[in-house]
Amino acid sequence: MDPSTDRFWFWLAGACYFAGLALGTSAVLRRRAHSRGIMNAIVVVGYVLHTYALYLRGLEVRGCPLGNQFEIFQFTAWSATSLYLVVGTTFRISLLGYFTSMLSAALTLLSLSMPAWDAEHRINVFGGNAWIEFHAALALFSYGVFGLLSLTSILFLLRHFSLKNKQLDGTFAFLPSIVDLDQIGHRLLITGVVLLATSLLVGASWWTRNPGAVNPVKIAVTASIWIAYAVALALRLRGRLQGKRLAKVCIALFAVALLSLSLITPRRPVSGPASVSSHQP
């Protein structure tokens, strides 16, 4: 592989996340705690390499790299890792590093192994419109937040299972408290809903002036996802959706959000000439 290409660095970042996944899995199988220091170091190195890869891609496409399915998966993984570096270290959540590595390795390596997802590099896909670029980046970042929320929800379900079934040793011993997980999940849900709402507002202000420029399916899908999360948040605030049910809803919504990514991939540049180049993986 050629170190001058961004894919080389994407592979390295994916390898780091995979190493974190392997470290965590080995600890889980041995029923011992993995070293938080080593896990954090692996995630940080992966994150730095990932940032560099996205930077190279950004230079190539002259904007935020969100022009195809590959770039969207990469950006979502990068967003989830960014959030982990804030949330994971602030709240000292055991196992979240492992789950973040799992998510980032899955998103990174899956998209790398699908050359068709990166067959086209859309250059200047946002036509130099910084607001649209901001809108897209924020939307994808909110997906990263929802990704981390789904991981927190998985940890919540595991902790709930361990407490109800009185299985507290082995891997379960490294789970955070159920109240902490609930609070972190709540904050992530608020953050994700606010970020996606902001993104939609920024996008809408441009779309209302150029109604023909945006794919209506994309608008419908993104708005539906936002509405679903907003409803979940409203029910949570009113005490109508709590605990296990809320955790399951958050996991299901993120699965839907991931599946919908193919529908919201930009199909054409929003302004300026469409510069499409073919990519050789």
């Binding site: 361990s162 407490l163 109800k164 009185k166 040793d169 011993a173 109240v179 005490g239 709590q242």
Partner: protein, 353 residues
Amino acid sequence: MSSPDVSPALFVVGASHQTTPIDLRERLALTPEKLAQLHDAASRLAGLRELAVVNTCNRVEFYGVATDATAVAALEQEFCRLSGLDPATFATIRRLADGSDAIRHLVAVASGLESQMLGENEIFGQVKSAYEGAQQRRSVGPVLNRVFQKAFQSAKHVRTQTAITVGQVSVANVAVELAGTIFGDLSATRVLLLGAGDIGEKTARAFQSRGAGSLTVASRTLARALELATEFGAVALPFEQVGQRLHEFDILVCSTAAPHAVVTHAAVAAALRRRPAHPLFFIDLALPRDVEPDVATLENAFVYNLDDLARIAERNRAAREAEVARALALVGERADSIWRQVAPQASGRIEPR
């Protein structure tokens, strides 16, 4: 302490719970005054160069550097005189080790491997206090300084690299640890002690010592509740109000002598409706049980009875014991390494008497 020309020996002599029945052990521990007297007497002993005394309720051990065995014998005699023990009796319970064996023993003690409750944390602080006390009295020198400082590092290594300290092994501490897995920080939790059973009191005390936010006591007789509340610095609650005010608490420690359940499914369901985002943790230490079994079917209610807690404590104890061989191997490696560093200064032997 004198400095004769004979090659000095590092030694440990003392007795612990492992060799001493409780009625004798009660007499082993030295009061601060007697400890000071012992140090004074030891400072006048010819042949004793350095001394540190580990003095806890379960062990009295003298770590020292001596140039001949008579200094050690004189130290033992002084200890027996101060504690009122017959020297012949002490001779049957005491253990003597020298050189690397003494270091191995110190590292094992500081690691909690020699404790009655395997892997307990308190002993590390007690050994550290013993060393600091000896430093203040200037009774430690180059050999014991190095031995103790390296022993502390080694004990930390043993405790972090093995699972001998993992999990709690008493019912009260298991309950507190469980509360941590539900609430995380206990400083905001409100604990209700329901009933006046002995184990309930111990558990409430464990919650207090771990910084629980508040403690309320309810007993079937208000006078007893008031008495306990005064003892704990807590608030008393009339027993008949418990049902209506259940939602105000996070943790219920139940240990009444009631012949039937006093916490019902209906009362808990009503309480949870008033606090949907906050779990309720029931520690049911009573027999017959105080909490109706089907309370556990409520999503946000976590119920642990005496059997559950005892089972967890037993599992933790077994897990710690399974780590002993690995921990001892680490202790041996570390002790050998420390011994190589101090042997040039303390290579002599104390012949067993």
